[in-house]
């Protein structure tokens, strides 16, 4: 183990933990809220089960705006809201709020795309079998799209890691921020490179795990 890593061990572990917290909450938000939002985006589309122009336009606008907002500004913009929710606008917990909202917008778009890949015939068969909309979603659409949903979550998670590096701004910490502060600002280039390697390793592990799971559960 390189000396410099041993030297900063505690801080490195802490930054890894912070990244896990931030990314973990984002993943949770993506699943708990991004999945339904994406499902609604899909269902409210033209020609789909719940065709609804108004709901679709609203959700679509939300996703578009959040996704095209420069993230740094987005974080700043959300400070009052963040304060409302977690009581403070600084620290790792506060950082999870803008990250989670971005995560919802980000993942919901990928969910919509994955659901669009489900053959229309399957939905039709479900309808003909007398399935309710909820049953169509749970027993057919989500089952059929599951590999795409997992791949989407993988891509999203990697993006969340990338976004989380910006969260140092509000004291969110994390590996990326650590690399910037110690490596870049304190000129410990070696340390910076190690941290980047750690991040890339995480990314590769996530990519590999996601792709493997997706392949395993894809029976199409």
């Amino acid at each position: 183990m390189p000396d410099i890593i041993v030297q900063y061990q505690t801080e490195i572990w802490q930054s890894i933990e912070e990244t896990f917290v931030m990314v973990g909450f984002s993943i949770l938000a993506a699943i708990i809220l991004g999945l339904p939002v994406g499902t609604f985006l899909f269902l409210c589309r033209k020609g789909q089960l719940l065709e609804n122009r108004v709901v679709f336009s609203i959700l679509n606008l939300f996703v578009n705006i959040v996704r095209s907002f420069p993230f740094l500004l987005f974080v700043v913009f959300l400070i009052p809201f963040t304060r409302l929710i977690v009581g403070t606008a600084i620290g790792t917990m506060a950082a999870t709020i803008p990250l989670s909202i971005m995560a919802i917008a980000y993942y919901s778009r990928l969910v919509e795309q994955a659901l669009l890949d489900v053959p229309k015939g399957v939905i039709e068969a479900a309808t003909a079998m007398g399935a309710s909309i909820l049953e169509i979603i749970y027993k057919f659409i989500l089952v059929e799209a599951r590999a795409g949903l997992v791949l989407g979550l993988t891509t999203s998670t990697i993006s969340f890691i990338s976004y989380s590096t910006i969260m140092g701004v509000v004291g969110g910490g994390g590996i990326g921020d650590f690399a910037i502060r110690y490596g870049y600002q304190r000129f410990e280039t070696e340390l910076m490179i190690y941290m980047i390697i750690i991040m890339l390793v995480f990314v590769q592990i996530i990519q590999f795990t996601g792709a493997t799971i997706a392949r395993k559960i894809d029976k199409r």
């Binding site: 606008a89 600084i90 701004v169 509000v170 502060r181 600002q185």
Partner: protein, 254 residues
């Protein structure tokens, strides 16, 4: 005739010596804007390069991409020199930006409760500087001799159990609503309508060695252009400008 005109124009431009100075935020950038027309009279074309982080201005100077920079204090510059083997040198101290400890809720340090959160900037020299204020005022105690290089790890006594939150320099002002205490420079406090003199619970004091300084390189510090800039930037126009616009926040250091 037209061609001649063009040549003439080019010629007049050629006579101007180009001088690139990197800077960050007001009032630094504004001071440079004040001296810009003055330098033109001296035959110098000043170009202000605005960057938005506090490493690049030094990197750019060291790499000879700019001729000087104007955003830092000498300890910060020395730290940079040391870490990077660079040979940046101070040319002219311009103004004091007095670090202050601000609080939205508390009127004095005595009111500040146990376990209060303190927002400080997250770059090493500002961490050190922020901690140094508290050390200086006896709120905390730092290891002997760490000076400006102090980190949270160097705190050996912390009677009030202050909790430090390191945030981006640029976020400090936003933390005013959040943290119990915020330690920041007047440039960041000003937009909140706060001045060190009337609002800070604690300040560094004028003897501070943290004056914002015009910095150049060893190899060009004596060049005519840099010297002219040093002269103008410590001239009466700048003094007047600072007194009119930054009365309590940027105090001329010349």
């Amino acid at each position: 005739g037209q061609k001649d005109n063009a040549n003439e124009k080019d010629g007049s431009n050629d006579e101007l010596v180009k001088l690139k100075v990197a800077s960050l935020i007001p009032p630094m950038t504004e001071i440079l804007d004040v001296v810009k027309p003055l330098l033109k009279e001296d035959g110098i074309d000043l170009e202000v390069v605005v960057l938005s982080d506090n490493i690049q201005p030094n990197n750019a100077l060291a790499a000879k991409e700019v001729d000087a920079n104007f955003f830092q204090h000498v300890p910060y510059m020395e730290q940079y020199n040391e870490e990077n083997g660079a040979n940046l040198v101070p040319v002219q101290a311009v103004y004091h930006a007095i670090y202050g400890v601000y609080s939205k809720e508390y009127k004095s340090m005595d009111e500040v409760p146990d376990g209060a959160t303190v927002a400080i900037a997250n770059d090493p020299s500002n961490i050190g500087r922020s901690l140094a204020i508290l050390d200086h005022q006896g709120i905390i105690k730092l290891k002997e001799g760490v000076g400006i290089n102090a980190t949270q790890a160097d705190i050996i006594e912390n009677e009030k159990n202050l909790k430090f939150e390191e945030v981006d320099l640029l976020m400090l002002a936003r933390m005013y609503d959040d943290a119990d205490l915020v330690i920041m420079t007047p440039a960041y406090a000003a937009p909140l309508g706060l001045t060190p003199k009337s609002d800070a619970l604690l300040t560094e004091g004028l003897e501070s060695k943290f004056a914002i300084t015009l910095v150049a390189r060893e190899d060009n510090k004596d060049s005519e252009a840099i010297q002219k800039l040093a002269e103008r930037i410590s001239g009466p126009e700048v003094k007047q400008f600072l007194e009119e616009n930054y009365d309590e926040t940027a105090i001329p250091a010349f």
